[in-house]
């Protein structure tokens, strides 16, 4: 029996899960696409984590579950999480556990991009993109689709280019028209893709890093950090060494697992069932008609039994919980 902590990071595009042991080592991990269905994605992640543990002959004693990412509340209540925290804190703590001397974390995810500045092991400043998705993974994947390139190959193709095309990337929509134009006047595909990677970086730096000093050591993470083209563009643009961990995509999940470990100081074992795959979860979204706020309420059912209701601004919305 080994004490374990689970961290799950459910992003807009991908879902990440890790299990760590008492010494914060990752003993199992999984990374897959959310595909718009966070509940199923988490079921798969938990199953795969369990399989990994089984193959390593580890019998886990779960002492903490943490969830983070944009679906953290939904998944938190499904898994019975002991801690639900935002992704900025989780990323900072996850990265610091591996690289204590980190000063700057660049993070580009599916719909969010973040910049976290750390001083003496403590977060002192951060910036997040505004609602616009320019300069995030969503931009990259839509452009990749447009050019008929697999998103996983985007980096490789970009690094073939010697002469990246200049692409205006202030706005995703306009970047697209710029891109079409550049293709039509004869720029090669590699150059355009390299240009997109560069555009993402420039957009990121213009949006988030204005007025901030990016000091060594710089860690780049999030799903987009797997794209070697973007990494290269960051290196060229900042003229600094950029570190990308092999587990860079897992840092949020790792961080939330560590937080769940930290809050459970006594190491109490909690009740957790790995067979979540077989449990039927259902969510019902509806509008509360209690007042003219018309809150959108999501009720989560586990085997037809209501376990949580979210989204209401007042008790009236939660009142549904007792009735049904």
């Amino acid at each position: 029996m080994a004490k374990c902590y689970i961290g799950v990071d459910i992003g807009s595009i991908s879902t990440k899960g890790v299990i760590i042991d008492e010494d914060k080592n990752i003993i199992a991990s999984e990374y897959l696409w959310t595909e718009g269905d966070p509940i199923n994605a988490v079921k798969k992640v938990i199953k795969s984590l369990k399989d990994t543990l089984d193959s390593k002959m580890i019998v886990p004693e779960i002492c903490g579950i943490g969830t983070t990412g944009s679906a953290r509340y939904l998944i938190g209540s499904i898994l019975g999480a002991t801690i639900i925290k935002n992704e900025i804190t989780a990323h900072a703590i996850g990265t610091l556990s591996k690289y204590p001397d980190t000063r700057t974390i660049l993070e580009i995810g599916g719909q969010d991009s973040k910049l976290i500045i750390i001083k003496n092991g403590i977060v002192v400043d951060y910036a997040m993109n505004t609602l616009c998705a320019a300069g995030t993974g969503a931009f990259l994947s839509s452009q990749a689709k447009r050019l008929g390139v697999d998103i996983e190959d985007l980096g490789k193709v970009a690094n073939l280019s010697k002469n990246p095309t200049k692409i205006a990337a202030r706005c995703t929509v306009f970047a697209e028209s710029d891109l079409v134009h550049k293709a039509q006047i004869g720029h090669s595909k590699e150059d355009i893709i390299a240009g997109i990677c560069r555009a993402v970086v420039q957009n990121y730096l213009n949006n988030l890093a204005k007025g901030k000093k990016l000091e060594d050591k710089i860690i780049f993470q999030g799903g987009v950090s797997k794209n070697i083209g973007v990494v290269k563009a960051f290196k060229d643009e900042l003229n600094k060494e950029i570190y990308v961990d092999e587990n860079s995509h897992l840092m949020g999940a790792l961080g939330i697992a560590i937080i769940s470990k930290n809050i459970n100081k006594n190491g109490n074992v909690i009740d957790f069932n790995f067979d979540i795959q077989d449990i039927k979860f259902k969510t019902i979204g509806r509008q509360c008609n209690g007042c003219s706020n018309n809150c959108e309420i999501v009720s989560i059912y586990k085997e037809e039994k209501l376990i949580d209701t979210m989204g209401a601004r007042c008790e009236k919305g939660y009142g549904i919980k007792q009735i049904s």
């Binding site: 925290k85 935002n86 003496n120 609602l131 601004r313």
Partner: protein, 329 residues
């Protein structure tokens, strides 16, 4: 007689003054309902796209009263016209225009008060005209106004004292200053949920709109001048234009040594706030701050993430400092 007051914009500038004035004259008042999504929805339909969220909410409130007018026998709907104040102060042009805009959009009975010192319309004069239009005697109007003014001043003073008292009480919680216009921060759809969220995260909230700059002396008829000591906003900029921006910056500077973090809260699109908040966050360097702009979108998750992480980071910083002081690190 019954007067309806829309719960938006100008009314938050003087929450007591207008209400007390009418009550002192023996007029019944009704407020529009608190802001809900429905009110905002109606406001969006009525207002032009380019206007700010607060102005859309305001029109929603007026719409609410116009609808209730028949059933509840409301005689007038009161829409103040605030333009210029003492010491050449002025306010956002939305406040100039509200009365005329409403007259154009709705077919209803509106009544206004014109406060425009630049054109020699003092507060007292405005109230005299308003009272006369409602058919009261000058003596009654003047005494009602003076009493109402005093109540407003007492209310402001009380709020300020409460806040300063709270600031000087030491507890281990974080002190966060919310910088926003009163019509944003007290609104039940925009500001209140954010304040509730902050309270749930266990922080003390303070408001920049409660500060010394707007405090008046109780001698009403005497020409009022600012106390030079209270013009703290000059430390950030001497060329600020709007009255409310000056007040908010004053609120920041007054509390600077007591607060751990600043939340700049504004609604989209607000030209003034854009400029003033940017200016202030550049000049005040040693206090962490976050700028939140609210629009008509109603997904909360992005907002939650930003507020939560801001408080988390302040907490981390605080623990670090406590440890540093006790020389553990």
């Amino acid at each position: 007689m019954k007067i309806g007051i829309p719960r938006g914009l100008a009314i938050y500038e003087y929450p007591i003054l207008f209400e007390k004035f009418f009550l002192n004259l023996g007029i019944d008042i009704v407020y529009s309902n608190i802001t809900t999504k429905n009110i905002l929805k109606n406001g969006i339909n009525l207002d032009i796209d380019e206007n700010c969220l607060a102005s859309k909410i305001f029109l929603g409130h007026v719409n609410d009263l116009v609808k209730r007018k028949e059933n509840e026998k409301i005689d007038y709907i009161f829409i103040p016209r605030l333009c210029t104040f003492e010491n050449n102060d002025t306010i956002c042009v939305k406040f100039f225009a509200l009365y005329d805009i409403c007259n154009n959009i709705f077919d209803s009975n509106f009544i206004t008060i014109n406060i425009d010192y630049e054109h020699n319309q003092s507060e007292l004069k405005g109230f005299l005209k308003l009272g006369k239009k409602l058919g009261f005697k000058y003596t009654d109007i003047i005494s009602s106004y003076i009493k109402a003014r005093k109540s407003q001043d007492d209310y402001d003073r009380k709020k300020l004292n409460e806040q300063s008292f709270k600031l000087y009480q030491s507890n281990n919680k974080l002190n966060i200053l919310v910088v926003a216009h009163p019509y944003i921060v007290y609104d039940s759809l925009v500001g209140k949920p954010i304040c509730n969220k902050l309270e749930k995260l266990g922080v003390n909230i303070f408001f920049a709109n409660i500060n010394n700059l707007n405090m008046k002396n109780n001698k009403i008829l005497k020409k009022k001048k600012y106390n030079i000591k209270n013009q703290n906003y000059l430390k950030i900029s001497s060329s600020l234009y709007w009255k409310s921006s000056k007040a908010l910056l004053n609120g920041i500077i007054e509390n600077l040594d007591k607060i751990d973090g600043i939340i700049y809260l504004s609604v989209f699109p607000c030209g003034t706030d854009c400029l003033v908040y940017e200016l202030s966050s550049r000049k005040i360097k040693d206090i962490p701050s976050i700028n939140i702009i609210i629009d008509e979108q109603d997904s909360d998750i992005g907002l939650d993430t930003r507020i939560e992480s801001f408080v988390d980071i302040l907490n981390m910083k605080n623990t670090r400092e406590i440890l540093k002081k006790s020389k553990v690190i």
